[in-house]
Amino acid sequence: MYRYSEFDESFVRSRVAQFRAQVERRIDGSLTEDEFKPLRLMNGLYLQLHAYMLRVAIPYGTLDSRQMRQLALIADRWDKGYGHFTTRQNIQFNWPKLADVPDMLEALADVGMHAIQTSGNTIRNVTADHFAGAAAGEVADPRPVAELIRQWSTDHPEFQFLPRKFKVAVTGHPDDRAVTAAHDIGLRLVERDGQIGATVLAGGGLGRTPMIGKVLADFVPLADLLPYLEAVVAVYNLLGRRDNKYKARIKITVHENGIEEIRAQVEAEFVDRKRLFSGVDQAMLAAITTQFAPPAFEAEAEGDYETWRAVDPVFRAFTDTNVTPHRQPGYAILTVSLKAHGATPGDATSDQMRLLADLAERYAHDELRISHEQNVILPHLPKRHLKAVHDALLAAGLATANVGLVSDIIACPGMDYCALATARSIPVAQGIALRFEELRLEHEIGPLKIKISGCINACGHHHVGHIGILGLDRAGVENYQITLGGDGGPDAVIGERTGPGFAYDQIIPAVERILRAYLALREGPGETFLDAYRRLGMEPFKAALYDTEETDGARADAA
């Protein structure tokens, strides 16, 4: 894992001191809100519906036990004893008091963490595959590149006032668990002629105008990656529109200018930028890479894992859904679901955080990951410890065997917290999870990604959900639109809208009708919902949704 250098340490400390003085000046009246707002946003502090919210970056979703315990401490000391893990691998505290925030930031700095650039028109927290360095079939660990980008982009003087926010995701695995195609820049590490480089995608993004990223460069060698990225952001910084915030993201810049024009400008800019890079970035990348060396894997890690699976059906079901193959024999990647049926997706109590920290430290090489799907991962777990880990999780309410199933739902905070939201997301997610638990259909239905956003900004990634749900305000009433067939994987697809939306009390029955239609129409249990949708198209699902008497009320709103 990356450890802060002296430079990182002193930079973060100085930012905390700076912000402490800014908060003092806001409270004593020397700063107006208009003056203070951009300053607090630069430090991740939002004002939401009921309270302030502090968004803390978890770069590329990687934590150790010390950092996780500190998040628990912050939750207990200055918040309400829990935190919310987000779809951008951040953690949000929903109830801080303004005067306490500098102390919270100081506590973060104590463990090499910060909230810098988790808001504002800057390069945001760099996200990565949550199975980085662990998954079988990985081309290269994306985290050294992600850390290099974090260092380069943090306080980069040229990129503090971009036309709009800018999100970068990196994957080193062909499965693309980082949704790179839905980012301003997506990097896919690939190998060509024995050399590692990146396929660079640009202009992806969800929100109001969803776009799948386009390939800007097939292959950029690692040695050229940083100057190339700098060229892309520099071109966007000049070309990106500042007249209309809804047209300011790079996806619109790419759309309006064309990928060829952007490519030509980037390539011209790259020649100049490359000259300015003395090679220090490569020395830094090499130094960073050594910090992400794999842990000292145990030779005999398997133990009696298979015996426990044979005798304990609950354990077997848990490992069937929550374990992903590790590249190291005898090891497992364990996903701990933060989606217990009826719980708030992505929320963890401070006790749960401490337990996860303890388990990581005791059994799993002291590493934890946060996924954009709002779960926590033990990436390097010897299989011989899985039983003990499962027992401990079971006692803490963290052993839900639902990863990748109906109830493993991504949901943004929605109108329960967010000032931008137009409808609630959380209770919809809770209701769907509870309904399918009650029906005992979850495992029958199989792999399915439901994603819910409480407004058009799409923090819940609804466009790339196999079933996407978008909550809107229609004439003063919550209304939910459904999209089908979205996919956030390597061949990303934006889902297609089914038709008119559904009222708050109709959306869960609507999802149930879709999934009952799927069960009736699929060729067999081997055909997933997404495969069935691709084979059958929209029509049978539309019929299931709308061709029933009971939905007449829901159809009244044809917005």
């Binding site: 004002l47 939401q48 519906l49 009921h50 303004l98 005067a99 708030t344 917290y417 209770p427 305000d473």
Partner: protein, 100 residues
């Protein structure tokens, strides 16, 4: 087209220090409970109150006028967003509903 008639409103904001929702009451103080808010029924005084609230930036953040109606115990919200602001989130008993 004739101008739309003015509909009753309350003046609301978030407290600077705690961030929680507040409403302006008839004495010009900030209250944590909507039913104690002043229901503003004419446009001129609504605009004046809003100007005044903007000048009280050391107390509150983001003041605005929200639609409201007269209820049996005081002003009530007419929109679900404003209703949520009187309570707190629906997933935990936090915010104003805490301890109730």
């Amino acid at each position: 087209m004739p101008p739309r008639p003015f509909t009753p409103k309350v003046l609301t904001a978030n407290a600077l220090l705690e961030g929680d929702v507040v409403w302006l009451d008839a004495d010009g103080e900030w209250t944590r409970r909507m039913e104690e808010a002043a229901l503003i029924e004419d446009e001129a005084s609504a605009e004046l109150h809003l100007l005044d609230a903007h000048a009280r930036a050391h107390e509150v953040v983001g003041p605005y006028l929200a639609e409201a109606r007269r209820g049996s115990h005081g002003p009530e919200p007419t929109h679900f967003r404003e209703a949520f602001r009187t309570r707190g989130p629906s997933n935990y008993p936090h915010g104003k509903q805490e301890g109730q």
